[in-house]
Amino acid sequence: MAKNSVKEIQTTCCYCGTGCQLLFTVDQAANKILDVHPVWGRTNEGTACLKGWYGWDYLNDPQILTKRLREPMIRKNGRKSPLEVVSWDEAIKFVADNFKRIKEKWGPDSFLGAASARGPGNEAGYITQKFTRAVMGTNNIDHCARICHAASVAGSRQTIGEGAMSLSIPEIEDAEVIFNIGYNAAASHPIVARRIVKAKEKGAFIICADPRITETARISDLHLQLKGGSNVALVNSLANVIISEDLIDHEFVKAHTKGFDEFWEVVKEYTPEYAATITGLSAEDIRFTARKYASSKHSVILWGMGITQFSQGVETVKCCCSLAMLTGNFGRPSCGTGPVRGQNNVQGTCDMGDLPDVYPGYQSVTDPEIQAKFEKAWGVKLSNKAGIQLTRVPEFVIHEKDPAKRIHAYYITGEDPAQSDPDLEEIRETLDQVDFVVVQDIFWNKTAEHADAILPATAWGEHDGCYTSSDRGFQRIRKVLEGQGNILPDWEITCRIATAMGYPMHYNNTEEIWNEMIDLCPKFTGATYEKMERQGSVQWPCWDKGPGDKGTMFLHKDGRFATPDGIGILKTSPYHPPTEVENKEFPLALCTVREVGHYSVRTMTGNCRMLRNLEDEPGWVEMSPEDCAELGLREGEIVKVLSKRGSVYTRCKPTERVKPGAVYMTYQWWIGACNELTISSLDPSSRTPEYKYCAARVEKIKDQAWAKQEVAHIYEDIRSRMHIVKEEVLA
C-alpha cells in the first residue's frame, strides 16, 4: 500500500437532515475506506449517531438486501420485454426518444419528474427541475417532501412566509421551554435529540405531545399523551388559553401580525374543556402547557411527521406558527418554529425548486417577473401553471378517464414510491399503467421492477456537491471513493438526456451548476462554494457573496416575516377527525413511525452490516401489553396485520409505551411493508398523505413454524427480485 495514497476527506453525512460532519480515511489507490469518525461541525459538534458511525459499507455493495445498479438497462421491446444491459448512449437515446414522443403526443403536462432528496445533492436537484421545466416544459416536478414536510412548507409559508426551521439546531439547547409535538428526535435525528437532552440539563422545561411514550416523552417534564389525530384540537386550545388568559405579547401581535379576529373566531370554541373531550387530555394539562409556553421569550416548538402526516397537517402547522406569533417567540435566538426535516437533503431539494409551484429559491412559477428571469437565463419559454404533486400521480393515471389529461411519463430519480408511498397496491397499479417509467438510482428497489429504463447513478460518497441541513445550512459533500461500474452522477445523466432531446446542458462540475443557481436565487446568492469551504456551513438567506455576509442563524429578525408585506398571518381551522377511524372490522389505529438505525426505504442501511444486524425483516408492530394479552400474543411472534387495503406479516412487540387501541409500524421493511396498509387520503392543500392514521387489525397466527417459513420464503423471493440470488434473471 503506497503511503501517500491514504487521504483524509471530510464530508456531510448522507442520513437525516442534521448534517453531521464525518472524516473518512481512504486508501485512494485501493479505493477503500479505512476509517470513519465524526468531526466538529456546526450542528453535530464532533458527535454522530449509529448511521454516521457505521452506515457506510453499503458503498461496497455487500448484497445483503439488494444489489447496486451497475449498468444502464432498458426494455427494448416494450413493457413486458426483459431489461437488457445497453451502453449509456443507447440508454440515453431510448429515454430521450420516449420523453420526446410522449411530450409531442400528449403535451408537456403528461410528464412528471420526481427529484431525489437524498444522495445526489442540491446540484442534481437543480438540474432535475431545470430539465422538467426547460426541456419538458412543465412544472410537474416534486419530491418526497410531499410525503413528509410539505405540510410544514405550506403551513409556514401561509403564516410566516418561510417553510424552513426559523431557528437553527444549536439554538435548541438554549431554549427555556420546548414544546415538542409529533416529533421523535431520538429516532429521526439522534444528534438533534442530543440538543433536547442538553436543553433539559440546562434547565429547559420540556413538554412532549405524542400518543406514544417516545424518548423525548420519557424525559419530558410534562407528557401530553393525546389521542392520535387530535393535534389541531390541542394547538387550537393552547391558542384559546393564551388569548383568553391574556398571555399574549400585545406589542408583537399588533406590530407584526394580522388576522387576529378571524383566528379568534376559530379558536374561541376550543376551550380546554372542549379540547379535552377530543384529545383525551385533562383541561388542566392544556392550561398548564399554554401558560408555560407563553411564559418565556425562548419558547421553541419542534415538530415532525407526527403533525404533518395527517389530512389536517397544514392546519396544525399554521396554528403552531400562530402560537409562536401570539407569544412573540420569533426573531431572536432560541425561539420560534422547528419543522425538522427527515432525509439529508429534503430541505435542499425544496430549496432547489423541486416543487410544483416554485423555482429554486422559493420564487413563484406564477409570478411573470420571475418567469421572465428564468426564461432569459435558460433561453426557453416556461410554463406559468403550477404543476401537480407526486402524491396525485394515481389520480392522474388510474383515476383519470381522459387520456389527454393523464401522466404518461414518470422520471423517478433516487426515490422508491413503490415502497414509500401510501396504499402500495394502488401505486403498483399506477406504475404499471404509466406509459414510460424511468428509474435512476443506486440500488435495485421496488420501483425498479416497474421501470422501462434503469439508469445507474453514483452514490453519496462517490460524487461532489452540497446538501442543505434541516436548519438551512448549505454544506459540502465530497467524493470519498471512485464509483464502480458503468455509473454516472445524477446531474450528468439528466444533462445527457436534455442534450439528446435538443436542449444542450453541459457543466464541467457541480460548482458550475451551483454558480448558475445562486445567481438566479437572491436568498442563496452569497452561499458560494468558497464560503462553504471557509465557514463549513452557510445558512440561508445569504444575500451577498462578500465575506461580510456569513448567512442567517435565525429567521424573522425583529419580527419581520418573510411574507410579501413582512406581516405574519394568524391562521388555523376547526378540528376534524382522521379520514378512516377504527371500526368493528378494523378496531386498531395504525400509525407509521421511524426506526433509528434505518433510513428511508432501506436500500442503503439495509445493506450496511451493522445496521442490518440491529434490526432486520420483517420488522415489528408495537402494541400495548393489553391488546397483546387479548389476542394471546407474545413478543417476537409473527402476526398478520391487515387494513382495508392489504395485509403484511411482521413480529409483535408488546410495549408499555403504547396505549391500548393504537399500533405502530416502521415503514422501511420490505416484508412488513406497512404502506400496504396505509391510506392515500391527502391533506387538501399540501397533498401529504395521512400516514399517521388508518384502521387496522392484528391477527394471531397459530402455526408459528409455518409463519416463519412463509416470511423466509417471502424474503428470499424479494432478494431474488432484487438480483441477489439469481443474477441472470433481469425480467
Partner: protein, 172 residues
C-alpha cells in the same frame, strides 16, 4: 476498586450506537469488509427500555463477583480491576448467567465449530474494552454522552459531594 460503566437514563435516547460499537471494537474493522454473515453480532451490553427508562445494562465488575464464584471451569477471573472471561476455559455452563444479579452475562455462539459440527458457545460480558480499544468503545461513541466509565476517583468524589450536600441540608 474495579471500574464500571454507568448509564445516565436522562441522557440515553435508546439509539443503540453503543451496541454496535461494542461489536466493532471486539471484531475489528475487518467486519465492514467480510462476508455479511461471516461474523457474530454479540454486543456485551444490553439495551433496556421500559415505559420510563432507556438505558444499556453493562457488567458492574463487582468486587466479589457472583459470576466468578459460580464459574465451574475457572474461566472468570479479575485482572487489573476488570472482571474477565477466559474464553478458552469457558465451557458454557451458564452458572454465571444465573448468578449475575444484573443480567449482564449471556451465552453466545462463537465462530468456532465443535467436533459435532455445532458452534461453540461461551459466556459473553463487558470487558471494558481491555486490549481492544483505547477507551470503552461505547463511552466514546455515545452521541448524548450518556455513558461514563466510573473509576475509584470518580466514585470517591461523587460520594464526597453527596455527603457535603447531605451535611448542608442537615444544617438548614
Amino acid at each position: 476498586m474495579n471500574s464500571f460503566i454507568k448509564a445516565n437514563p436522562i441522557r440515553c435516547i435508546g439509539c443503540r450506537t453503543c451496541l454496535i460499537s461494542c461489536v466493532v471494537a471486539h471484531e475489528g474493522k475487518r467486519i465492514f469488509e467480510i462476508d455479511p454473515d461471516g461474523y457474530n453480532f454479540n454486543p456485551r451490553l444490553f439495551m433496556v427500555k421500559t415505559a420510563r427508562v432507556s438505558a444499556p445494562v453493562h457488567c458492574r465488575h463487582c468486587e466479589n463477583p457472583a459470576c466468578k464464584a459460580s464459574c465451574t471451569s475457572g474461566a472468570i477471573f479479575v485482572k487489573d480491576n476488570v472482571v474477565l472471561v477466559d474464553t478458552k476455559k469457558c465451557i458454557g455452563c451458564k452458572n454465571c448467567v444465573i448468578a449475575c444479579p444484573f443480567g449482564a452475562v449471556e451465552i453466545v455462539e462463537t465462530a468456532e465449530v465443535q467436533n459435532d459440527g455445532s458452534p461453540r458457545k461461551i459466556a459473553n460480558k463487558c470487558d471494558l474494552c481491555v486490549g481492544v480499544a483505547d477507551s470503552p468503545s461505547c463511552v466514546k461513541v455515545c452521541p448524548t454522552e450518556a455513558l461514563a466509565l466510573v473509576t475509584d476517583g470518580d466514585l470517591s468524589q461523587s460520594v464526597a459531594d453527596k455527603r457535603r450536600n447531605a451535611a448542608a441540608a442537615a444544617a438548614v
